[in-house]
Every structure is written in structure tokens, then in C-alpha cells.
Symmetry: C2
Subunit: 202 residues, 2 copies
């Protein structure tokens, strides 16, 4: 498909470089932008430039923030002795949305994945160990995705933290809320039986 | 989902304002951009600004272009007496990709759709009529989508051009290449029988 304008071509190529966006979708998005006001599209462009220029990562937990330390680490009322280890910033937001966790986080920035060339040195694991070594942390909750890569990373961190006096826990795995039992995969279902809990009437 | 950075929030909102992109996808795209080089993302932003600043629409056919007249209208070897009327720039590119058309185009910029508040005055219909009135055009091919809106627009243009000495044709409708006959909808199939053609061995 030949694009009749060099500027259109460039903008389409930029959008098509984003994950999950092909050239046809990119074209649709750019033609949508072309129908908007110029000031509106300039604001779009400026928001990206401002993001790259101003965004910071929290010095303590590596969550995204606007200053030196993120809002969560800067809140004294949170439980700073409980650290929840997550893969990404999206995971922090997902857990925050549950309103079930009052501790602090540690964002790894990924999981160990030899297939993708990501090793422990590419992740914020050394800074996690340093944080634990400083003391004051009682519990580390490993909240990585229950995948091969997540499990590998869990195990690696577990080994790294073995010498420190800290409780290491992982989030519960089992049948998801509203899932039909007979559609649940056998590994999850088998595990949910092994990890059964006393029934408590709430 | 609360976003921990104002700049992140703004960029996510901008992406989420694009058609077909929700907040979760927008977040994924922005976090992808954050992992890129700053110069890379600045180039993305600049490509949008350059697009809005430099893009033009062809004075003759309203196709997108970088100058005053588009590449198609500026090519003397094309058949300037045959005008193909299309809804959008994407349609021009789709027809050009077939390499079956050597005439020129007229981009309406939409179709008549009272439901979306789009009337004939919002489209490039007056400029089409003026183009025909000038003379030199023998055939107008209506190549709009075979929808209610496309058919309405076809009919409107047909009425507007009735007084001019110009042949008006529409693109063939029928069973699409490689479609299974028993999955083809009954309107299309019925029409393909009514519009049958003499069999020619190619």
C-alpha cells in the first residue's frame, strides 16, 4: 500500500512501531488525528515529550513517579516492613486497585526470561537485596505472574534472600473468582485442592 | 486504576482518546514508549507535529498529499476523463494497490449518514459537481462501500449529476473471491445471480 504523503508515511510508521499495532490500524489512527484540530494533536505530541523529559522512577521501589520518591513510598501510614515484589508498574496499579494491600512495593522491571535474553542483572534484584540488607523489612511478598518465568524469578529471589531474616511469601494460587470449575486447567485445580484451607463463614 | 505520575496519566489519556484504544492498551503503549530512547520518542512526537503542519489535501481530488496537487492528479499518463469517487484516502490506496485503475479519484471525505449527523454539505460533493461541470470527464465510477450510507450517497450523487453528459457507473457487487457460496449472505448471492455475466474463458 503506497502512502501518498511523506509526512503521513512517517506518522504511520511511528504508530506501526508500537506493539500490537499494524500498518492498517496505524493508518486509521493517523487519519483520525488528521481530522482533529492541530492544537489537539500538538498537545498529544507534547504529552509524549513531557513524559520522556519529566518522568522519574522511585529511588526506593522503582515505581514510576514525578519526583524522587513515589507516592506510595512517601506515605508514612503504609506498612514499610512489608514489601510486595512485582514485575511491572501495571502490577502495582492492579494491586492498588484491590485496596487489599497497605505495604510498599518493589518493581523488578521484568522477570527472568532466558528466551528473551533477560537475566537477573537486567532486573532490580540487587537493589531489592540491598533494601532487605538495610533491615526494617519483615516480609517479602512475591507477587509475580504464575508462569515459568515468574516461578524462575521467584526461586532466584528466594535463594538470594535466604540468608536474611525475612519472611518470604507468595500470593495464593487457585481457582479464580467466578471461573467455572470444569473449565479450570488441571494444574490450577490440582493445586487448589492441595492448598485447601479451613472453611470460614464470613 | 490510579496512575502514579501526572505525565504518565496525560500521555495515557491522549492514547486512550484514539479510536479503538482503551485505557489498558494506552497504558501498555505508553510504558512501551518509556522503555525506548528519549530521542526515539521525540521523533514520534515530531512526526505528528510535522504531519499536522505540512500535510495538504489535493486541490483537485482531495486526496492527501504534500503539495498543492497529489501525485495521481499530477500524472499526465493517467486517464483524467475517468473519475473514481471514493469515501476516504484509505480507499484510494486500496484501489491503487489493485493496479486495475488508471483514472483519477475524487475523495468525498465520508458518506451521507444522518445517524452520525453527516449530510451532503459535509462532503466534497459540490466540488465533484463543479469538476464535472468544467467538462472533460466522460465517466464517473461510484466506488463507495455497499452499505445503506454508501447507497444513499451513490443515489444523491447520481441525482446531482443527472443533468450532465457523463456516464455514471458503480463497481460490481457479487460473491467475493475465495468466499464459500453457502456462507455468502442472501442479498449478495441473489444479486450475483441477477447480475450474471457471459462466461469468458481467460
Amino acid at each position: 500500500m503506497e502512502i501518498p504523503s511523506l509526512y503521513l508515511e512517517r506518522a504511520v510508521s511511528q504508530f506501526a512501531g508500537l506493539p500490537g499495532i499494524g500498518r492498517k490500524t496505524a493508518m486509521r489512527l493517523v487519519l483520525h488525528l488528521l481530522k482533529r484540530e492541530r492544537t489537539d494533536v500538538d498537545a498529544f505530541a507534547d504529552s509524549l515529550k513531557a513524559l520522556m523529559a519529566n518522568v522519574h522512577y522511585c529511588r526506593i521501589c522503582h515505581n514510576i513517579c514525578d519526583g524522587d520518591i513515589c507516592g506510595i513510598c512517601a506515605t508514612p501510614s503504609r506498612d514499610h516492613s512489608t514489601v510486595c515484589v512485582v514485575e511491572s508498574i501495571q502490577d502495582v496499579m492492579a494491586i492498588e486497585a484491590t485496596q487489599q494491600f497497605s505495604g510498599v512495593y518493589h518493581v523488578l522491571g521484568g522477570v527472568i526470561s532466558p528466551m528473551d535474553g533477560i537475566g537477573p542483572q537486567d532486573l532490580e534484584i540487587t537493589s531489592l537485596v540491598e533494601r532487605i540488607a538495610k533491615g526494617g523489612i519483615k516480609e517479602v511478598i512475591l507477587a509475580l505472574s504464575p508462569t515459568m518465568e515468574g516461578d524462575t524469578t521467584d526461586f532466584y529471589i528466594y535463594r538470594k534472600l535466604a540468608d536474611y531474616k525475612v519472611t518470604i511469601t507468595t500470593i495464593a494460587r487457585g481457582v479464580a473468582q467466578n471461573d467455572l470449575l470444569h473449565y479450570t486447567d488441571e494444574v490450577t485445580l490440582g493445586r487448589s485442592i492441595l492448598d485447601r484451607k479451613p472453611f470460614i463463614l464470613k
